[in-house]
Amino acid sequence: MTRVKALLVAVAAVFIALPAWAEVKIKEVTSPGGITAWLVEDHSIPFTALELRFRGGTSVDDPEKRGAINLMTGLLEEGSGDLESQDYARALENLAASFTYDAQSDAISVSTRFLTENRDQAMDLLRTTLMQPRFDQSALDRVRAQVISGLKSDAKDPGAIAGRTFAEAAYDGHPYETDGKGTIDSVTALTREDMFAAHKAVFARDRLYVGAVGDITAEDLGALLDTLLGDLPETGAPLPVQADLDIPAGITVIDYDTPQSTVLFGQEGMERDHEDFFPAYILNHILGGGSFESRLMTEVREKRGLTYGVYSYLVPKDYAALYMGSVASSNDKVAEAIEVVQDEWRKLATEGVTAEELEAAKTFLTGAYPLRFDGNGPIASIMVGMQMQDLPIDYIATRNDKVNAVTLDDIKRVAADLLDPDGLHFVVVGKPQGLETTTN
């Protein structure tokens, strides 16, 4: 055992000397036309990653046309300007560029990468993609069929069933309540006109955030932004309002004939801009933040073998904040898994964490932070996220200090305020033994 201790001491000694991380040098670039972007110039590889994000996402859907924005986003790669679907795809392939789209409940993302040598052509194509989409009826029908196929699969997927059930219970009357992909009925009814309306609702200057990383200068980026996005309308559909959360405490069982129960659980969470966000972030890391050392992993997996994985995560969305978690466990074991989760929730709420746990969490979180900045695309995406959260441009340099400033008392206070073991709502999809619905 002494050798174990010797190693730990050696490790502790190196904690002090955390390496000087390569600085991520972010510049704010404002184009002549007034579009702002964050840029990291790095000319070592001849390509650029450009990330565009439009706040609002699928939540600005017309409630009568649920799924329109998701379907519209899926149609962006189906032709623009003079180019029908497959001609468009060939044009993109000939540039060896990549444009991908993601429709989430808080934002529509356009993630691109393109080579320096044909940057102008790639941006011409992206411009027509965003400004002159075709939304051909044939493409609409084809992609609609794919969306409906996905919705049918979701209807039999335990994880998707749990997510839908939880959202319906938590977000009464808010766009978050329903799936942004829509329902089979709502998607079936969507028309070509709905696609143009959805396009108009999403793509606007007042909700645009831009990040660029790679082989491009500030001057070139400024000119590019005006050409690419200068013709965007000033505004789109009204953004959502804050959700009134009403999460029922207790267990909801969704009967589904499958050997392992899938569990989603949650309670109210904490906004990203709350002054206690960092204590909450650290306490979540200790409770169930994804490492093998978290309390939930230790208790549910390592000690009892009840699951392959159990996690908790803060979900600070733009218009609501949840604290959620998930676990999957065989039908005959899931009741015990849920009991252990709830016990751990309670234990942390009443007792806080130990000094050792806090130190280990800080060392991990501060050490792991720089590992995120590992490529042009990831950095562009992180920078856009920072802008959407209204973080300062020097945030990266100060973030670890905020983590290190958190004290044991902070954690204890926030744990007592935040964690609500008796208020947790568990959605269980499967044939769990010894569990019944206790919510209304």
Binding site: R3, L7, L8, A10, V11, V14, F15, L18, P19, A20, W21, A22, D42, I45, P46, F47, S85, Q86, A89, R90, E93, N94, A96, R113, L115, E117, N118, R142, A145, Q146, S149, K152, S153, D154, K156, D157, P158, D257, T258, Q260, S291, F292, E293, E302, G305, T307, Y308, A328, S330, A360, T363, F364, L365, T366, G367, A368, P370, L371, D374, G377
Partner: protein, 452 residues
């Protein structure tokens, strides 16, 4: 013997190096160095000095296809147990130490390899090597570790496979495709055998296969080959080679002389589809041309919006909501070439299968469209540029290649071999491989559906 790969930065840096032109660079500077320690452990170093981060991986040339009969899942079970402890590390301490140093660690098992990795600040490389080399030979298990972790892998199987009809269907497809080879047995194992796995099974698999002469150290990130060599010699170089580790020799497939069919029904199926797999050759050392042709065939047939199956079945006939073609040639032994068609609403699985067969036959008869092939090759050249943004990805390419019987030279030759493939070679490979006699055709259905 340090063999440094010639730097081609000059080619890449030149503005005239258009990916669209035929004389564009077909390989990029991967900053790769390889050497071998005295005990036979291979080392691959991929340099990227943009951020002070390192990924440390050890790949073992052993996977689920090397398991003895009757203990399916033992390769993967051992991978889990490797986190338990050694003479000097408590159970879980390795991961906890990585985390305490701001890093992440994990491991993965496949048919042909088992790999362990940590991603951490570059100045922690020595500590990673110290711990990883320790568990190469000093694993210590308790009965309780084994019993609890067996429950974990059973839950993992439940989550990945038993709870997912597509996975269960895939398992049956594989079992039908491989008549004699262990590729027909799931990596995670058959449940009834997993339930019986014990400490002796794990430790004997460990002592048979975990040795420096059966391992490859793959380091990527902010390191120099010289520094890696010094540390590797200190931590791995001192471990004696195990002379009993011999070249892998597995039961091979007999000639396949009849088409197999299966229908898998499950109430949890939402979207029925047809999956066809064909026995196909893999990349062999010094002989990758046919595999390259099959790789391109998969792209041409089902690799995206402009591919042939997509054009015919989704755009023209609208028989399908989705189609795809897949080929993973990086394997030690014969692998498979797969096609999938997800029928459109109102199209039966039989109609979908017939339409797919017609399209495959038409393609082989019609031949490769040179423009399509050129466009795919252009994208592959560009992907070499984008790949430099992710050196960990390059590192994994070497790990997979070297544990699948290929040499460093083979891994480096692959991009050029792909560029050299002709349309005629692709059609010849298609004619050879797309044979019903060596195929399995599976229908995944809801259990209330009738088959006709």
């Amino acid at each position: 013997m340090i063999r440094r790969i010639a730097c081609m930065a000059a080619l890449i840096g030149a503005t005239s190096a258009s990916v669209a032109s035929a004389d564009a660079p077909t390989s990029v500077d991967e900053a790769v160095t390889t050497f071998t320690l005295n005990n036979g452990m291979d080392v691959v170093v991929v340099e990227d000095h943009r951020a002070p981060v390192v990924q440390h991986m050890v790949w073992y040339r052993v996977g689920s296809a090397d398991e003895p009969a009757g203990v399916s899942g033992i390769a993967h079970f051992l991978e889990h147990l490797m986190f338990k402890g050694t003479d000097t590390l408590e159970p879980g301490e390795l991961s906890a130490t990585v985390a305490a140093n701001g890093g992440r660690d994990n491991a993965f098992t496949s048919y042909d390899y088992t790999a362990y990795f940590q991603r951490v600040a570059a100045d922690r490389l020595e500590l990673m090597m110290q711990m990883e080399s320790d568990r190469m030979r000093n694993l210590r298990l308790t009965q309780e570790d084994v019993d609890t972790e067996r429950d974990v892998i059973l839950e993992e199987r439940a989550q990945r496979t038993d709870n997912n009809p597509r996975s269960l269907f895939g398992e049956q497809m594989n079992a039908s495709q491989f008549l004699n080879h262990r590729y027909g047995v799931p990596i995670i194992g058959w449940r009834h055998e997993m339930e019986e796995l014990d400490m002796d099974d794990a430790l004997s698999f460990y002592s048979d296969h975990y040795a420096p002469n059966n391992a490859i150290l793959v380091i990527s990130g902010d390191v120099t080959p010289e520094n890696v060599r010094t540390l590797a010699e200190q931590y791995y170089g001192v471990i004696p080679a195990n002379p009993d580790v011999t070249a892998r020799s597995r039961p091979q497939e007999p000639p396949h002389n009849t088409a197999r069919r299966l229908v898998f029904k499950d109430a949890r199926v939402a979207q029925p589809y047809v999956h066809r797999s064909y026995l196909a050759p893999e990349r062999d050392p010094g002989d990758q041309e046919k595999a390259a042709a099959l790789f391109l065939l998969a792209k041409l047939l089902g690799g995206g919006q402009t591919s042939y199956m997509t054009t015919k079945l989704q755009f023209e006939d609208q028989t399908a909501v989705w189609t795809g073609a897949f080929y993973n040639g990086t394997a030690l032994d014969d692998t498979s070439f797969d096609v999938i068609i997800v029928p459109a609403e109102g199209v039966t699985l039989q109609q979908a299968e017939d339409a797919m067969d017609q399209v495959l036959a038409d393609y082989v008869a019609k031949g490769v469209d040179q423009e399509e092939l050129d466009r795919i090759k252009l994208q592959l050249r560009a992907s070499q540029i984008y790949a430099r943004d992710n050196v960990d990805g390059i590192a994994s390419r070497y790990g997979r290649g070297l544990t699948s019987g290929l040499t460093v030279q083979d891994v480096q030759d692959w991009p050029d071999i792909l560029q050299a493939v002709t349309g005629d070679e692709i059609i010849a490979a298609a004619r050879e491989v797309l044979q019903l006699d060596s195929s399995v055709t599976g229908w995944l259905m809801r259990d209330d559906e009738v088959t006709q």
